[in-house]
Chain length 142, copies 2
DNA sequence: GCCCAAATTTGGAATTATTCTAATTCGGGT
DNA sequence: ACCCGAATTAGAATAATTCCAAATTTGGGC
């Protein structure tokens, strides 16, 4: 059993045949490997072209199917900025996203330790949050 | 000079001919009035049909043009949830959005007083934030 | 008021990320 | 090896948004 969390160059072969209750098919394995291989935030198309390098027969529809399966089983995160195409993130730890307006690149931003959402927002009590997305845009000082 | 902030039934006629440096054309006035008339978060299409009630000749392209003009001049906020179509918000005060998963409706959520972003996030120093979007999903307790 | 250039509006076509469809292939269990 | 439900595939469909080029409206100068 491997730790997917911080492996540098994951070998798809090493993934168990099931993760989080999701059957690891050849294609899902490949898509997951592609995402885990880099610390960036590729679009579905990026994932598609990277996956094609090692599996030339994979289809874009399959990449979308795999991404949706991986996201719903919480093996990767989906990241949205305004109306841009979705991106996919290998980092499962609690974090949010900052887009550098100059390069368009997306960076992970970690929450300070011990901060709770209720400390920040006037939420009507009883509210249950199932999903939270924080997205920042800006630049790194002049 | 009127206060747009909390007017209940704004009369487009009352808007000055220029706001925030934006020329108030008939159509922009109408689109703005539609958005200010309710405290909800209509889509471009919602705005289009509401605007058509009083201005039957307005076109969807124009609604999109007007929305983009109003948003960029900060007379209206644009709100995004995942890949759903954009919504538009009349509330210019500092707040974020909660979507009730049962009804799909979007509610404004106010920030607690005195909380600063830097208190929450490990931002590399020097970072300048030009845009921030916080979106929550969930439900109101069982 | 009239004229002009510039800005805006308009209908329709184009774009494009994503989803859908229906047919084919795959794979684990027998 | 055979079966059956699940997964993959190519291609068509969808839908929000943007683009385009023509028509209209606008404000400013005369
Ligand atoms: Mn998300
Ligand atoms: Mn926004
Ligand atoms: Zn990330
Ligand atoms: Zn709002």
């Amino acid at each position: 059993m491997i730790s997917l969390e911080q492996q540098k160059n994951p070998n798809p072969e090493d993934f168990p045949s099931e993760l989080q209750g999701l059957r690891m098919t050849k294609q899902r394995r490949e898509v997951l490997a592609v995402i885990l291989a880099e610390r960036d935030h590729p679009t579905a198309n990026d994932v598609f072209s990277r996956a094609q390098d090692r599996m030339s027969t994979i289809s874009l529809a399959t990449v979308y199917n795999c991404l949706e399966a991986l996201v719903s089983h919480k093996l990767v995160r989906q990241v949205n900025f305004e109306r841009e195409s979705s991106r996919y993130c290998p980092n499962l730890s609690d974090h949010c996203h900052f887009q550098d307006e100059e390069s368009g690149k997306i960076h992970d931003v970690v929450f300070k330790e011990g901060v709770k959402l209720e400390d920040l927002l006037e939420l009507p009590q009883g509210t249950e949050i199932s999903h939270l997305e924080i997205s920042l845009k800006g630049n790194f000082g002049k």
